[in-house]
Symmetry: C2
Subunit: 238 residues, 2 copies
């Protein structure tokens, strides 16, 4: 029997209107919809964004991926997710997998496809790109990311200030994603490096609790628990 | 009189279905549509992508931006473009500006908004992000751009092999955009650096003449005139 097709759909950063027309159309044709969520008691953000484009009879399959640095624990969850998806596409049914932002930029989708290709080497996979969170952040803050021949460096979830320092020294624009509790430490570092007035902070672009802040000093005063879905954009001026 | 609003719409890399629902909706509501084109005798690629979402009575204003490294010549064209747009929004009419890919990533939109803000400081600008060409290239090639805590470096239109070499040495994924006639030189360099089998080439994603090539040796054999709208994605393996 021929396998079903797996469609990996980037739902964008938060605003349902920032989904692509292709993503919405493909989702309308999908009966089986797999959605990632961070913990079993929470809902899926990707599903909340794409909800209005679901067909009435769609079957939602939740896949739990913990926020963990434990590669063994993560591997188990990816293997479990790949089993769940292969149970469906292996029966000849098409399936969609929804993912925040763009499917091939720091998304669980990458590991899911890798696991699936090991189990079902002939599987047809169609990836529908999505708006990245940093494009949405740049749009909200009217912050040019890349100009002329300047380079752009993206660093996710970095605890390593040396890595950030090297990137700042190299010129162009720096995009720091998935900051979470690292925020205050990173803001301190950017201030010491002299770039605080060339940076903007955007959290939860297009979602409840969206925040756009051009004065990073205010972040410290507000002593917030920084969101995982947060971004710093920094111009080096070179 | 109140100014009209300028909407900057990223139309994505080529496939009209990769426009966002927001981009299509905003364009449907726009009477004045400004489109960039590279030379006066050619059509606008951005307009060709977004054409199906135009309203019947829309007025298309073409803005010519030469493919030039001459900053004086470019400045003149940006100033002229800003005058054309300000003539419309200054009369209280809304206007859309269409741009390939994402408006704030290596787009003429950046210079247009900067010139406009000098002329009309109070202007309302709404930027609608778009799918970047590299997200579409990654989707076509099923090439994971960023994983885990790896960094991603984007370098546009680079003639400087030292800059590319430094980026490769730094690890993560390298995205080389707008290659054009630099392609052969850059492919030679990537081969010498030992990364040829970790790279893919994608040109004109979603446009006529689309090409996805995982074996970069074939590019050389085909001795093509490389397209300006071309991308190399390279994993360093670190």
């Amino acid at each position: 029997m021929k396998f079903g097709v797996l469609y990996g759909i980037g739902v964008g950063p938060g605003d349902p209107e920032l989904m692509t027309l292709k993503g919405a159309r493909v989702l309308q044709g999908c009966h089986h919809v797999f959605v990632p969520k961070a913990r079993s008691e929470n809902g899926s953000i990707a599903l909340a964004i794409a909800g209005r484009y679901l067909r009435a009879d769609s079957l939602i399959h939740e896949l739990v991926f913990p926020m963990s640095d434990d590669s063994g624990e993560l591997s188990q969850h990816w293997a479990q997710a790949a089993r769940s998806v292969s149970d469906v596409v292996g029966m000849g049914e098409d399936a969609c997998f929804l993912t925040l932002g763009d499917p091939l930029l720091y998304s669980t989708y990458i590991y899911l496809v890798r696991s699936l290709r090991e189990k079902l080497p002939g599987l047809d996979v169609v990836t529908v790109p999505g708006i990245t969170a940093f494009s949405a952040a740049a749009a909200l803050a009217e912050f040019p990311i890349g100009e002329g021949r300047q380079r752009v460096v993206i660093i996710p979830a970095s605890d390593d200030l040396d890595v950030i320092g090297e990137a700042l020294a190299g010129g162009g624009t720096l995009i720091l994603m998935k900051l979470g509790r690292r925020l205050n430490k990173v803001v301190d570092f950017i201030e010491q490096a002299g770039f605080l007035d060339r940076a903007v902070y955007v959290a939860r672009a297009g979602l409840d609790g969206q925040q756009v802040e051009a004065d990073l000093r205010k972040l410290r005063r507000q002593e917030q628990a920084a969101d995982y879905l947060s971004i710093l954009l920094v111009h080096t001026g070179v």
